[in-house]
């Protein structure tokens, strides 16, 4: 058994989907001849041809809308958007059409569409390619929003998303494409309903997703060396949120740090915190804490970008503050 990258896992998932179901096809900018902006779709054009691996013009609204229409007409499109910032050009289609038509039509139509969207910061590409806007999409009823943070999810979430009759947005964090892991041969599918505890602990819960999960796990290592056992929960599914798993961890550790690359104001982290406040209030033994992206357009300079993103040390510091507070004034 050998390790594969997150990128390769994504590609294997796409390849499997294309082989399994003739209704599946790919659309997006530079996914064909170029091989994909992040090389995820490299080689697929040669194998599956131009009919099913469709390079599109830079018309996000048209090709995302076309994905919705094709889904309405019985296809199973997988549409790639190069970065979440570009997805804003298709926001009308995603929010006004994909998210509304099933309900607005009284259940006459479903939109079995998958959108793959690269997201997140860390690549030194500044303020128009680095943001984490998945929290916006998680705001929208009618959408399902996934954030694979581990290679296994990168490999298998796609199949689950295609099997879902709803528009599913898969946010792939750009810093994860090169991570490697061995796949468990016993695992051939994953659910897209539940959050997952990636590391058990009793002292404090760290909630994260995407690259935030990786950083939360790194923070847990730091804390472990100090005798603080952090539980790390991979949210995985940003909509609908798996509140039950979140609350279960809160009931266990009673201390919460939420990690979110998105901006704090009006964010997914705010939503999670509020759900805990609503449903898990009496389990809390300390104030809720968040480690979020700084409220700035992402800067280019590495030291500034690093400072703008959640980092393991920041997460550990927040957790330490809760789990081992400084003693009054003895």
């Amino acid at each position: 058994m050998t390790a594969i990258t997150y990128r390769e896992a994504c590609r294997q998932g796409l390849r499997e989907a294309l082989i399994r179901d003739p209704r599946v096809f790919l659309m997006g900018e530079d996914i064909g001849r170029y091989g994909g902006c992040y090389a995820v779709t490299k080689g697929l054009l040669d194998e599956f041809g131009e009919e099913r691996i469709r390079d599109t013009p830079l018309s996000e609204s048209a090709y995302v809308g076309a994905g919705i229409g094709a889904a309405l007409a019985g296809m199973r499109p997988i549409v790639e958007i190069m970065t979440v910032n570009f997805s804003l050009l298709a926001l009308d289609q995603i929010v006004n059409n994909a998210a509304t038509i099933p309900h607005m039509s009284g259940g006459q139509f479903a939109i079995p569409l998958v959108l793959r969207i690269a997201t997140g910061g860390g690549r030194r590409v500044a303020a128009q390619h680095s943001h984490s806007l998945e929290g916006w999409y998680a705001h929208i009823p009618g959408l399902k929003v996934l954030a694979p943070a581990v290679v296994e999810d990168a490999r298998f979430m796609l199949a689950a998303a295609l099997a879902d009759p709803n528009p599913v947005l898969i946010f792939e964090h750009v810093m994860l494409y090169n991570i490697e892991a061995e796949l468990d041969p016993a695992v051939s599918e994953v659910d897209i309903e539940r959050a997952k505890v990636r590391r058990e602990g009793d002292d404090v819960s760290l909630f994260g997703y995407g690259n935030g999960l990786v950083k939360a796990l790194a923070a847990a290592e730091i804390l472990a060396a100090e005798g603080i056992a952090a539980e790390v929960v991979d949210l995985r599914v940003l909509r609908p949120l798996d509140t039950a798993t979140i609350l279960k961890s809160v009931a266990k550790t009673r201390r919460v740090v939420i990690v979110d690359e998105g901006w704090k104001s009006g964010s997914l982290s705010a939503e999670i915190g509020m759900r805990i406040a609503e449903e898990g209030f009496f389990d809390l033994d300390a104030p809720l804490r968040r480690v979020c992206g700084a409220e700035v357009p992402m800067p280019y300079a590495p030291h500034l970008e690093d400072a703008a993103l959640p980092q393991p040390q920041k997460i550990a510091a927040a957790a330490r503050d809760l789990a081992r507070p400084p003693k009054g004034s003895q």
């Binding site: 040390q313 004034s329 003895q330």
Partner: protein, 397 residues
């Protein structure tokens, strides 16, 4: 910066000798760490620290005898910043009081460990305290911004679960403050006396048969296999409670709730003064050797601070034996929300009339303090009688 002082390790202790330092300047210490060994009249006692930081100076060298309260060592730098490759955010600055004090006020007191009445309390701690009927004002917070946490409440419950006159032992994670502890006990006992209409009964029991049986049995055992008389008293009490279950349980919300099982809280004195009464689960179901082992284990763990909070919060009744301290009998105060406390005095050879003859016999006075809301004297008397009867048949215990 804080000071580590010669602790009072018993009410009668006036001074102690540092016989060993377990730390050196530069060492990081955490709450609960053993930092020194101090010789007292009762022997060498390991001394814990209840602060965090780095030892900056050892003031009293080994071999020096100093009065209680003397500065032994200085602790600095409460929380060191984590070494970080990336620039880490500085720790939040300590709150600085900038409000000018009224001119007429006396000099500002040094920062106090006491917590103001409106101190912050975590939601979990508030809920637990309400369940347990604990006065939050008596608890020092160890949480963020000095908030009272769940662990603080449970530690306090452990303390108040001890029999009257108990002094605290620190729970892990939580600071130890004798004055605060005393206040907590005061609150719990005052509540007991205020709310619980106690009635008291006592009964003198002939232990001749029990002692003879015990001696015969112990003669065949190795030292570690021997039983102490206390274990017979404990087991007899537990079995008697099977017959009078109305005294085993709690009184909550104006109703008696029978205990789910008989879990006797066994009062154990602490070397540093005070005592705790952790539960021995299913006391009535355990064979004597098992019970003896459980008692030894509890004593050891109580004195080393290794108790589980469940052991401190689950007793359904308390049994205390003050016999080895020379008390003839006990008139106890019930630990709320329990409804009874059984006490045993000294086992002493005294004149006893049996079969019309005055004879020297080992006697013990068993006493009961019980909650009149939950039971009447009739039941209390039945319980004491059952204990007396069971002790006449030691082989059945």
């Amino acid at each position: 910066m804080s000071d580590f002082l010669m602790p009072a390790l018993g009410a009668d202790m006036e001074a102690g000798t540092v016989v060993e330092w377990r730390v050196e300047p530069g060492d990081r210490v955490r709450k609960g760490d053993i930092v020194a060994v101090v010789e007292t009249q009762k022997g060498a006692i390991e001394v814990e620290i209840f602060d965090e930081g780095v030892v900056s100076e050892i003031v009293v060298p080994v071999g020096t005898k100093v009065p209680v309260g003397t500065l032994l060592a200085r602790i600095g730098e409460r929380v060191a910043p984590q070494p970080a490759a990336a620039p880490a955010a500085p720790p939040p600055p300590a709150p600085v009081v900038t409000t000018p004090r009224p001119v007429a006020a006396p000099a500002a007191p040094p920062p106090s460990v006491t917590v103001p009445a409106h101190a912050k309390v975590s939601p979990a701690a508030r809920r637990r305290a309400a369940e347990l009927g604990i006065d939050l004002a008596a608890i020092a917070g160890s949480g963020v911004d000095g908030a009272v946490t769940l662990a603080d409440v449970e530690a306090m419950m452990a303390r108040v679960a001890a029999v009257p006159a108990a002094a605290p032992t620190p729970a892990r994670r939580t600071g130890f403050d004798p004055a605060l502890m005393r206040r907590a006990i005061a609150a719990a006992m005052a509540r007991s006396k205020r709310e619980i209409p106690h009635y008291y009964l006592s009964h003198t029991i002939d232990l001749a048969r029990a002692r003879a049986w015990l001696e015969a049995r112990n003669a065949q055992q190795t030292v570690t296999g021997r039983l102490l008389p206390a274990v017979l008293l404990l087991k007899a009490s537990a079995l008697a409670l099977r017959e009078v279950p109305q005294l085993n349980g709690t009184y909550v919300d104006e109703a008696f709730r029978p205990g789910e099982g008989i879990h006797v809280g066994w009062a154990i004195s602490l070397r540093g003064g005070g005592l705790l009464a952790p539960a021995i689960r299913d006391t009535d179901k355990r064979p004597l050797p098992d019970l003896m082992a459980a008692m030894r284990d509890l004593v050891a763990r109580t004195r080393s601070g290794g108790l589980r909070s469940s052991e401190l919060t689950s007793p359904t009744i308390t049994v205390t034996s003050l016999g080895d301290r020379g008390a003839d009998s006990v008139v106890g105060i019930i630990t709320p929300p329990q409804v009874a406390l059984i006490g045993f005095g000294t086992i002493a050879v005294r004149p006893w009339i049996a079969d019309g003859q005055v004879a020297p016999r080992p006697l013990v006075t068993a006493s009961l303090a019980a909650d009149h809301r939950a039971s009447d004297g009739h039941l209390g008397a039945l319980l004491l009688n059952a204990i007396a009867r069971l002790l006449q048949e030691p082989e059945t215990l």
